[in-house]
Amino acid sequence: MKAVYLDNNATTRVDPAAVAAMLPFFTEQFGNASSMHAFGSEVGGAVLKGRRQLQALLGAQFDHEIVFTGGGTESDNTAILSALETQGARNEIVTSAVEHPAVLALCAWLEKSRGIKVHYIGVDARGRLDVEAYRKALSPRTAIASIMWANNETGTIFPVEMLAELAHEAGALFHTDAVQAVGKIPMNLKETAIDMLSLSGHKLHAPKGIGALYVRRGVRLRPLIRGGHQERGRRAGTENAPGIVALGVAAELAQQHINDENTRVRAMRDRLEQGLLQRIGNSFVAGDVENRLPNTANVAFEYIEGEAILLLMNKAGIAASSGSACTSGSLEPSHVLRAMKVPYTAAHGAIRFSFSRENTDEDVDHVLEVMPGIIARLREMSPFWDGKNAGQSGFAPTYA
């Protein structure tokens, strides 16, 4: 049976070219980039090359604006904790209710342990940020506003360039968790007011364990990890040379494929989404369909539960993910869908399909072939599905 991987927002396959590029840095070129000998200097050169490749993808003005980290979560933590130290008496955070836990859990901890005031800006039924509330939350007390570029569950894109300018008007720093956006939509950071940006290698066909924080030149940064001069003292610890080399190659590949991502990949996503909605009643797309990542589709199926859907999909060779409570062991379904006020009848049955450039039209055909049977089978077993509610959706986003 052919395996169909549609969970690329969870992680991606490392591109074979990135693997090939990184391997020599485990064996022949094993040196420490800081060393004063040939072993070190050739690695140092490779790290610089990786930095420049990433700089190009982001459209950053200077290569030293890139600080390599262990991943997106570390980058988010560094950015927010740093702002609380460098912004003088400013001690409030403005963020959104739909951020990744890398930001939300940190904010919850800061509230609890340091008494930091955090403003959580809500979203509407389509997942669009309440910009008016954001504007009102910014004040002379705001140290940093941290708003994700694109949502990991629905793909909804937030207007970060505009949000960054609003933050600056209030004298606050602006950080964006762009883990899902980098490599999927074009960026030109030097043209924006964004101060800091987090990204993660494994979401764009580089390995796990490598990421970066973009820090605009002139923005003060307090390191999260201390102990060495690496990354100009902004992130101590011997450089992860193989990871950096692979991330550099992955960044270059992402740049080459960004058009493909926004044409062919987007078309596959749209065909899957439309096909599912046509074939399966009482289903709808969650998220802002007009302003979304090209690779993400979040389809909610009413009256059934996500884990059961995923288990049956897995049996049919399809990998996707769900925001259902049962897959995470918690009682609440996805905080993102709840913030959008998606009713419980559908929130538990929302499935996220996330594509990459490696997917094919056959993948879409396979999913469209098996999904109707899976949904029908589970609905037959559901006490809330009696046929009478067929066609009468409990939730009708205005665009549906």
């Binding site: 009256y303 918690s330 538990h348 077993m381």
Partner: protein
């Protein structure tokens, strides 16, 4: 991905008795769509013998919820109502070859649905006491409500006691802070309601006033009158009986326990199998000790002796 047993997978992918039952004589509905799982159990009962002749289920929920529901129908068909009511959620989990700790509530849902269906058949009102608090101890599936109830009903004031009564925090220990918060909150409520001496209340981070206080009321106290009339042979007989009762639970976890010797109120046992080196052995020993004290009518101290001694 959850580690589902083969049996869970079998009952999820090919569930038995899914669907509705025409002219059901009892229907039990538990859970809610908001909670992420709900079960509607329909049973047909022969009025003469009170035997369940057929059962069907409809479930909204995850893989193990569907498997647990199906397992429940398989277990109860053919049983009388009284026999069926003896089934516990653990029986459902055992039938399925075990459930991941986070999924134990699925078996509880089956247990509750059965009670609801029988109550419905008998024309009684069934009270849903399904807890919706946050799952705190994932190792044992203990939620906030269970800890609160244990603390209130038993006047618990230390983390040690909470672990003994509920097992929460007893394994990986990552939930310690969450459980502490519940204990602190509940104790504070009890103080406010006049149910607890403020000096006894648990306060996070504070040094206990008298460490261990009540629960260490010297387990080696003079034997109670009831037991003083017991001969050693009688005591051994009772102890063996108690161990026999506890054995299935221990074996279930791959362990066992045998009586080695009895001296006055000291009961020497040997923990074997998975109990050896088990980080929860102390909890198990405490449990055995409590049960023995209750049945012997005297305080006893259970002392585990090393294997081979």
């Amino acid at each position: 991905m959850w580690e589902y047993s083969d049996k869970v997978q079998e009952y999820f992918f090919n569930p038995k008795n899914a669907g509705t039952l025409e002219d059901a004589s009892g229907v039990g509905e538990v859970g809610a769509i908001a909670c992420g799982d709900a079960l509607k159990l329909m049973i047909k009962v022969d009025p003469e013998s009170e035997r369940i002749t057929d059962a069907r289920f409809q479930t909204f929920g995850c893989g193990s919820a569907i498997a647990s529901s199906s397992a429940l129908t398989e277990i109860i068909i053919g049983k009388t109502l009284d026999e069926a009511l003896k089934i516990t959620n653990q029986d459902i989990a055992d039938f399925l070859g075990g459930l991941p700790p986070e999924k134990m509530h699925c078996s509880v849902m089956g247990y509750e649905a059965l009670r609801a269906a029988v109550a419905n058949y008998r024309g009684e009102v069934w009270e849903d006491d399904h807890e919706e608090g946050a799952l705190l101890c994932k190792c044992f599936g203990i939620d906030e409500g269970m800890i609160e109830r244990a603390v209130r009903n038993n006047g618990l004031t230390s983390m040690e006691q909470v672990a003994h009564f509920t097992k929460a925090t007893g394994s990986c220990g990552t939930c310690v802070e969450g459980v502490e918060a519940v204990l602190e909150k509940t104790n504070a409520e009890m103080v406010a309601e006049g149910l607890l001496d403020p000096a006894q209340a648990f306060v996070m981070g504070a040094v206990p006033v008298a460490p261990g206080r009540q629960q260490r009321k010297s387990p080696v106290a003079p034997p109670a009158p009831a037991s003083s009339r017991m001969t050693t042979v009688q005591k051994i007989r009772v102890i063996e009986e108690v161990l026999e009762e506890l054995r299935p639970a221990l074996r279930n976890d791959g362990g066992d326990c045998e009586l080695v010797d009895v001296e006055d109120n000291r009961v020497m046992v040997r923990m074997t199998g998975a109990c050896v080196n088990c980080q929860l052995a102390a909890v198990t020993v405490q449990g055995i000790q409590g049960r023995l004290a209750e049945r012997l009518g005297m305080p006893v101290r259970v002392i585990p002796v090393p294997a081979g001694k």
